[in-house]
C-alpha cells in the first residue's frame, strides 16, 4: 500500500529562471511534457505546411498562372504532403497518446520514459532535416533544392538518374529517422498499456481511447517498417549502385509501389484510429450517455486493423494489374468500409436518446461525423476499380483524402484540443472564439473540398503546376483557393484562442466537462506524478461510479 502513495514535499512551486525552465523542457522524460512538445512542434509544422498549401492554391487560382515556377510548385506539393503526414499528423497524435494514455489507465508515466524522449527528439530532428533540404539539397534536373518527387517518391523518379543531387535523400533520411522514432513510441505505448494498468482495469474496462491507441501502435510496428525497408533499398540504389528499383537492370518500379502502399494504406488508418478514439471519448460526454456498443467498437477497430493490411493496391488500380488482382483489392477495400461504417452508426447510437450539449468539442465532433461519412462514401466509389480508373490521380482523390484528413482527422483534433486543453493547462478555451473558429473553418472547408471533387470528375489530374483554360476548371479552382484562405483565417482564430486562453481563460478545475475517465479525477494541470494514490477501478467509467453511487456502471458490466 505504501508504494501507491506519494508524499508531496512542501514548497515545490517557486518560480524558476527561464533558462532552468527551458532546460527542464529539453531534458524532460515526463509523458505529459513530451506530449505537449509533440503537439506544439506539430502545430509549428502545421503552419509551415499550411503556407505551402496556400502557395499551391494561389498558383492554381487560374489557368496558366505563374505565381511560382514549376520547380517551386513541385517542391511545394511534395513538402506539403510529407510535412502534413509525417510531421504534423503523426506527431500530434503521438502527443495526445503520450499525454492521455498513462492518465487514463491510472499510471504514473509511460513504460519507458527515456525511450519516449528519444523518440520525440528523433521525430523532431527528422522534421528539421527535411526542411534543411531547402538549404542543402538539389533536385530534379534543372530544379531547386527541396524534395520534389511527390511524397511517394515513386521509382524510377527517385533514382539517381532522375533525381540528381540530394533533395531526394533529405526526404528519405528525414522519414527514416522519424520512422524509427515512431516505432519507439509504438513500442512504448504497447508496453505501457499491457503492463501498467491500474488495479481493476482489465482490458475490457479500458477507455476506448486506450484500446484504439493500442491497436494504432500495433499497426505502426507493421506499417512503418515496410517504408523504412524500402527507403533503405532506395539508399542502396542511390549510393551503393544497387538495382532494387533500377528498371534497366531488371528491377521493378511496381515493387516500390507495392512496398510504399503496404506502408501507405495502413498508415492512413494509423492516423484515423486515434481520431476515432477522440470521438469515442468526447461524443459520450457531450451526449451524456456511455458509448453505444463498447465491445463492438473494440472489435470493429481490430477488424479494421487487420483488413486494412490487405487493401493497399487500391492505390495501384491504374498500374495494369490483372482483373483478378483488381477484383480482390476492390473486394477488400469495400469490406473495410463495413467496420468503419459500424463505428459511425455506434456514434449516432450514442447521440440517440442523449441530451446533447453543443459546446465547441461537440460541434467539431458532429462536423466530423458528417464529413467522415462523406469521405468514406467517396472512398467506396473509388474502391470500384473501373470508377477509379477515371478518378485515380485526379483532383477527386485529392478531395477525398483531404476530406478524411481535414474533415475527419483535423476536426476531431480540434475537438480534442477544446476538450483536453483545460486538463493540460488548467484554463478553458474561449467558447466564443471556439464557435468563430468552428464556423469559419466549416465554411472554408466545404467551399474548398466539396468543390474540389468536381475538377476531378472533369478530368483535372493532380500534381500539375498549371492547367489549360477551356477545360472548365478555372472558376472551380478559384473557389477552392478562396476556401483555403478562409480556413487559414480560422486557424489564426484557433491559434489566438490557444494563446489568449492560456493567460486569460477561465480556471478549469479538475473536471470542467463532468466526464467519466480517470484523467478528470486529478488537478488541471496534473502534478508531475499524476496520481497521489494509484486508483482502483471497477468499471469502464470510474468517475460515473463515483458520481452516481446509486447506479454505477459496475452493476452492468
Amino acid at each position: 500500500m505504501s508504494s501507491n502513495v506519494i508524499t508531496v514535499p512542501v514548497g515545490q512551486t517557486e518560480a524558476r529562471p527561464w533558462v532552468d525552465e527551458f532546460h527542464q523542457w529539453l531534458t524532460t522524460v515526463d509523458h505529459k511534457r513530451l506530449g505537449i512538445l509533440y503537439i506544439v512542434s506539430a502545430l509549428l509544422f502545421l503552419a509551415v505546411g499550411g503556407v505551402e498549401a496556400l502557395i499551391i492554391r494561389i498558383q492554381l487560382m487560374h489557368s496558366h498562372n505563374n505565381f511560382v515556377s514549376p520547380q517551386v510548385f513541385n517542391q511545394m506539393f511534395t513538402m506539403h504532403g510529407t510535412t502534413m503526414i509525417f510531421f504534423v499528423a503523426m506527431p500530434i497524435l503521438f502527443g495526445f497518446a503520450n499525454y492521455l494514455v498513462p492518465l487514463m489507465i491510472g499510471a504514473r508515466d509511460m513504460a519507458f520514459p527515456r525511450l519516449n524522449a528519444f523518440s520525440f527528439w528523433l521525430s523532431f530532428l527528422g522534421g528539421l532535416l527535411l526542411y534543411f533540404s531547402f538549404f542543402g539539397g538539389s533536385g530534379l534536373y534543372g530544379a531547386g533544392s527541396a524534395p520534389d518527387g511527390g511524397w511517394w517518391s515513386y521509382a524510377p523518379l527517385g533514382a539517381r538518374a532522375f533525381s540528381p543531387g540530394h533533395s531526394s535523400d533529405y526526404w528519405t533520411l528525414a522519414l527514416l529517422v522519424s520512422g524509427f522514432g515512431s516505432i519507439g513510441t509504438a513500442i512504448n505505448i504497447i508496453a505501457t498499456i499491457l503492463c501498467l494498468r491500474c488495479p481493476g482495469m482489465k482490458l475490457s474496462r479500458m477507455p476506448l481511447l486506450v484500446w484504439m491507441n493500442l491497436v494504432m501502435a500495433g499497426m505502426v510496428l507493421l506499417a512503418i517498417t515496410p517504408l523504412s525497408a524500402a527507403q533503405i533499398m532506395l539508399l542502396i540504389d542511390r549510393y551503393l549502385g544497387g538495382h532494387f528499383f533500377d528498371t534497366q537492370a531488371g528491377g521493378s518500379a511496381v515493387l516500390w509501389m507495392h512496398f510504399f502502399w503496404i506502408f501507405g494504406h495502413p498508415e492512413v488508418y494509423v492516423l484515423i484510429i486515434p481520431c476515432f478514439a477522440f470521438m469515442s471519448e468526447i461524443i459520450p460526454v457531450f451526449a451524456r450517455k456511455p458509448i453505444f456498443g463498447y465491445p463492438v467498437m473494440v472489435a470493429a477497430t481490430v477488424c479494421i486493423a487487420f483488413v486494412s493490411m490487405s487493401v493497399w493496391a487500391h492505390h495501384m488500380f491504374t498500374i495494369g494489374m490483372n482483373s483478378y488482382a483488381n477484383s480482390f483489392f476492390t473486394l477488400t477495400t469495400m469490406a473495410v468500409g463495413i467496420p468503419t461504417g459500424i463505428k459511425i452508426f455506434n456514434w449516432i447510437g450514442t447521440i440517440w436518446g442523449g441530451r446533447i450539449q453543443f459546446k465547441t468539442p461537440m460541434l467539431f465532433s458532429i462536423g466530423f461525423l458528417f464529413q467522415f461519412l462523406i469521405a468514406g462514401l467517396t472512398g467506396i466509389m473509388m474502391a470500384a476499380s473501373p470508377f477509379d480508373w477515371q478518378l485515380s490521380l485526379s483532383y477527386f482523390v485529392v478531395a477525398h483524402f483531404h476530406y478524411v484528413i481535414v474533415g475527419g482527422i483535423l476536426f476531431s483534433l480540434f475537438a480534442a484540443f477544446y476538450y483536453w486543453y483545460p486538463k493540460m493547462t488548467g484554463r478553458m478555451l474561449s467558447e466564443r472564439l471556439g464557435k468563430w473558429h468552428f464556423w469559419l473553418f466549416l465554411i472554408g472547408f466545404h467551399l474548398t473540398f466539396d468543390v474540389m471533387h468536381i475538377p476531378g470528375i472533369l478530368g483535372m489530374p493532380r500534381r500539375i503546376y498549371t492547367y489549360e483554360p477551356g477545360r472548365g476548371w478555372d472558376t472551380l479552382n478559384l473557389i477552392i483557393s478562396i476556401g483555403a484562405f478562409i480556413q487559414a483565417i480560422a486557424i489564426l482564430v484557433f491559434v489566438a484562442n490557444l494563446i489568449i486562453s492560456y493567460f486569460k481563460g477561465a480556471r478549469a478545475g479538475n473536471d470542467p466537462w463532468d466526464a467519466w475517465t480517470l484523467e478528470w479525477s486529478i488537478s488541471s494541470p496534473p502534478p508531475a506524478y499524476n496520481f497521489a494514490t494509484v486508483p482502483t477501478v471497477a468499471s469502464r467509467r470510474p468517475l460515473w461510479d463515483l458520481k452516481h453511487p446509486e447506479d454505477p456502471d459496475s452493476r452492468y458490466e
Binding site: P70, Q71, L140, G142, A143, D148, Y154, A155, L157, T247, A253, R288, K289, F292, Y294, T318, I319, G320, S323, S327, T330, M334, G337, G341, I342, F345, N346, I348, G353, G354, R355, I356, F358, L363, L369, F370, L373, I374, I380, A384, P386, F387, W389, Q390, L393, D450, H453, I454, I457, L458, G459, M460, P461, R463, Y465, Y467, G470, R471, G472, D551
Partner: protein, 353 residues
C-alpha cells in the same frame, strides 16, 4: 440559453443542407456535356465503349452511396436536433444505454449485403474491360511515354508520330477499336483521355495494354496523370477520332516520307549539321534520332511541345530558340542558333506537312 442551443443546431442543419444542395447542383452542372470542339474531359460524357461501361457502373455506385448518405445523414440530423439538451433537463442524465445486439447485427448485415452487390457489379465491369479480346479489325498503337512527350508508333501501318493520335471511329456492326500498348522510356506516366477510356499507367519494364472504341468523331483531349517530373503538367494528349475516309487519308499522308521542298534546303542543312538529328527523326532523310519526337509530319499537328503551345510560326521559332521559354525543364536544350540559322530551320520545319 436553450434558444442559443437550438439556433446552433438548426444553423448547422441548415448549413449542411445548403452544402448538400450546392454539391448536387455543381454535380448536375458539371455533368452537362460541354458543347465545344474539341470535346471536354468529363468522365460522365463518355464517347467510347470502355468509358461508357465505367460511367454506367459509376452512376450505379453513386446511386447506392447516395442512398446510404441520405439515410445516415437523415439519422444524424434527426438525432442532433431531437436529442439536443434543454435547460429544463439540466442536472438530469438521460437513460444510460450501453448497446443492443440486434441493432448491431442489423447494421452489420445490411452493409455487408450492399458490399456484395457492389462488388459483383464491379467485378463484371473489371472483367469486361480488362479481359476484352482484340477483334481482327483493331488498330494497334504502341505508346511510349517520355519526359515530357508521347511517342506513337503504329506497327501495323508503319507510322511514327508524336503527341497527337489519330484513330478511326468504330462502327458497332464492324468494330474497329484501337488497342494501345503502353511502354515508357524513362519514368512512370499515365495515359488519360477521360471521355475515351479510364487511365492506364506507362511504367518502364512493365508493358501495359488498354483499348478505346470511340463511337463519335471529334477531337478528344487528355494529359499525363502520373507525376513524371518538372513538366508533368504540360504532357498533353490530343486524339483525333476520324471517320473512315479521313483516317485513311491521314494514314496515307503519314506513311509518306517527309516532303522535299527547295526553299527548305538551307534549313535542312542547318538541321542536319547541328545536333538536331541526334534527337529527332525526319522520314526519308538521315535524321533518325529517337530521343525526341518524330518531325516528319510536324505541320500535321495542331500543337507543339506536347500541347504546351499552338503550332504557329512564332511559337515554333521561340521553341527552337529557347525551349525553356515555353516549357522550363523540358529536356530539349536551347541550340543557340544564329537568327539566320533559326529562321532557316523554322522554314524547313514548316515544310514538313
Amino acid at each position: 440559453m436553450s434558444m442559443l442551443k437550438m439556433k446552433s443546431s438548426t444553423l448547422r442543419f441548415l448549413a449542411q443542407t445548403i452544402v448538400l444542395l450546392f454539391w448536387s447542383a455543381m454535380g448536375v452542372w458539371a455533368s452537362e456535356p460541354k458543347d465545344s470542339s474539341p470535346h471536354g474531359t468529363n468522365i460522365f460524357a463518355p464517347a467510347s465503349t470502355p468509358a461508357k461501361a465505367i460511367a454506367d457502373l459509376s452512376v450505379f455506385v453513386l446511386v447506392i452511396t447516395g442512398i446510404i448518405f441520405a439515410v445516415v445523414f437523415a439519422l444524424l440530423v434527426y438525432s442532433v436536433v431531437k436529442f439536443r439538451g434543454r435547460a429544463v433537463d439540466a442536472g438530469r442524465e438521460p437513460a444510460q444505454v450501453y448497446g443492443s445486439t440486434q441493432i448491431e447485427l442489423a447494421w452489420t448485415i445490411v452493409p455487408t449485403l450492399i458490399v456484395v452487390v457492389l462488388f459483383l457489379a464491379t467485378a463484371r465491369v473489371i472483367h469486361a474491360i480488362e479481359d476484352a479480346p482484340e477483334p481482327a479489325g483493331a488498330v494497334e498503337v504502341t505508346v511510349i511515354g517520355h519526359q515530357y512527350w508521347w511517342e506513337f508508333r503504329y506497327p501495323g501501318l508503319g507510322i511514327v508520330t508524336a503527341n497527337e493520335l489519330h484513330i478511326p471511329v468504330s462502327d458497332p456492326s464492324h468494330p474497329t477499336p484501337t488497342f494501345l500498348q503502353l511502354l515508357s522510356a524513362d519514368t512512370d506516366h499515365s495515359f488519360w483521355v477521360p471521355e475515351l477510356a479510364g487511365k492506364t499507367d506507362l511504367i518502364p519494364n512493365h508493358p501495359n495494354r488498354m483499348w478505346m472504341e470511340p463511337q463519335r468523331t471529334g477531337v478528344f483531349l487528355g494529359q499525363c496523370a502520373q507525376y513524371c517530373g518538372i513538366q508533368h503538367a504540360k504532357m498533353l494528349i490530343r486524339i483525333s477520332v476520324d471517320g473512315p475516309e479521313e483516317f485513311a487519308s491521314w494514314v496515307r499522308a503519314q506513311k509518306r516520307p517527309a516532303l522535299e521542298v527547295a526553299s527548305a534546303t538551307a534549313g535542312r542543312r542547318v538541321f542536319e549539321s547541328n545536333a538536331c538529328m541526334n534527337c529527332h527523326a525526319v522520314g526519308g532523310t538521315q535524321a533518325d534520332g529517337r530521343f525526341g519526337p518524330d518531325l516528319s509530319h510536324l505541320m500535321s499537328r495542331a500543337t507543339i511541345a506536347a500541347g504546351a503551345a499552338e503550332n504557329t510560326h512564332d511559337n515554333l521559332r521561340l521553341w527552337i530558340q529557347n525551349p525553356s521559354a515555353i516549357k522550363p525543364g523540358s529536356l530539349m536544350p536551347a541550340m543557340k542558333l544564329s537568327d539566320a540559322d533559326l529562321d532557316a530551320v523554322v522554314t524547313y520545319m514548316e515544310t514538313l506537312h
